[in-house]
Subunit: 336 residues, 2 copies
Amino acid sequence: MRCTIKDVAKLAATSTATVSLVLNNRPGVNENTRKRVMEAVKKLNYRPNQTARNLIRQRTNTIGLIVSDILNPYYGELAYNMQKEMNRRNINLTLGISNNKVANEKQIIESMIQRGVDGILLVPARNGEKDLQHLYELRELGIPFVFITNRYKGIEADTVMTDLEQASYELTSYLIKTGEKKIVMVVENQSLFHVEQRIAGYYRALKEYGLHWSEDSIIEVEANIENGVSVTQNVLLKKKPDAVIAINAFTAMGIMKVLRENHIAIPEDMAVSCFDDLEYASILYTPLTVVRQPLDQICREAVDLLEKRIHGEEGEKKLELIPGELIIRNSTKILK
Amino acid sequence: MRCTIKDVAKLAATSTATVSLVLNNRPGVNENTRKRVMEAVKKLNYRPNQTARNLIRQRTNTIGLIVSDILNPYYGELAYNMQKEMNRRNINLTLGISNNKVANEKQIIESMIQRGVDGILLVPARNGEKDLQHLYELRELGIPFVFITNRYKGIEADTVMTDLEQASYELTSYLIKTGEKKIVMVVENQSLFHVEQRIAGYYRALKEYGLHWSEDSIIEVEANIENGVSVTQNVLLKKKPDAVIAINAFTAMGIMKVLRENHIAIPEDMAVSCFDDLEYASILYTPLTVVRQPLDQICREAVDLLEKRIHGEEGEKKLELIPGELIIRNSTKILK
DNA sequence: CTGTTAGCGCATTCAG
DNA sequence: CTGAATGCGCTAACAG
């Protein structure tokens, strides 16, 4: 960041204002002068100071992405798609990782506010429902944000996520059609929006096909491999459902591991399925039937929406639901 | 970003200079004035404008992290650890994803320069050896950078990574001690530094134990699941080595999948091992023997080093090698 | 078409 | 201990 616009102006024998015009590709500059400026820029290897630019423009051309858990490859994929989306639009991306703690989420948002991001894309922290002060803060400051892949229920805000209710309905219906009767769902905290949606779709399918269900066909754990293991040992092996729907691939992998160890045939004795299509889902010992959440599309729509808000488009807050995609593999029976 | 330091000064009935002193916890302010300022800050809900601060300080308190491939959970873990490290030190992290393309790496670095990062942590792009101009550029501008987990060979630069030579030596030695004779390595482009290191350690072990090897005991592919699959179908099934060392967990997973399908017993017929301890490595059908790369430590050391450089500590460029950790699981035979 | 001027919000002299 | 003045690098009026 050595040389400044002044140096360029001097070398090109013109004023900083003209240099600025050239640099920003603005019209109204003599072709000759423009050339001189370009040459000076090249000769000096000049690059504009974004910080100064941001200060005067009162915009940073930067969007903040806050992700709840980067250790989950699902969010790695999300970050990947977001980055691609930003590249396409020439926007800077700055990443925050909340690690599923609201306290971190708050702190990240505070920092992003101070650094002047133009808008925020937020994967809400698990169990962060109670304390939404920081989001109201954003709203007050006029910094737009949109939820992605999930939302807090306590605040009316733009959201782009998979239509989990419908996806869950389709997955459950498929299982029923393959002959499964006793279908169990392994989920997280049921008060979370994305969990609610899945359960709703599941119930809708059961009802439609006239299947009975009881309260305890929903099992609640924190979604990860270990809990997939323990829930199987403690519950599934005793309950012996015909099929399981796990909230994510990690949980499903834990479940399958224990089933295998106990010589429960998948899918004959127990079918297993889940949400999220991790890259490995297909090369597991028993490839998983999954609902794929179309992250590419979610990212595109989310950034579209956020950009509109940034550019001043007001209007009602939207809840955009993107259809999920049911991918049938060998962990569930084949539909004849 | 509504109210400014001026508003605070006005409300506290003092000058902006004094407010600045208070905000930066500088001494030489009357306790009384300090209190008044603090109150004004709270009342106005004032937050400093980082952009303005950065401009005048000529520092951004931001470090850029450039990762080659965020779809690989290994780098997700890296990002996670980096974020934690930055949090601890109160430094902002800005992420770039090169997607293993030098062109992207260059562009990200250019953008980071313009945004004035204080330093850069770089996971080099695969096959990016030939074009190091952007790194020399950084050096010229006095922006320090340190390589992590791998380095380009063409430039003398600070690097923090696993001691892959030693780790590879230990892994190979272990396999030999469990009775394996014909050991094959599946790697990437052999001219890459991190690959070179692994191969060197492998050879050292073979030599030490007086085992014969031939050129074609090194198989070169781009590391991913599909190539793990194809290399097994095309080479390993015919060559029938006693043991395989894969460059990463993905490749190993692809290999194991095909072996399983062909009823080759792991580890009896063929032992499988790899670098990188993914979370799933332990819950696979056959849990993988791996070399764990201690990312937490690598991140800590890398940031330590980078901070020193940022604060002006010169001196010879360092190559810090962190010991890897051999984790024995069921995909290799047990040492009696 | 070009140059001069005046800030963006803040931190830092340096008098008082 | 405090406040007025200066400028970080850039852009946006506005004259010329």
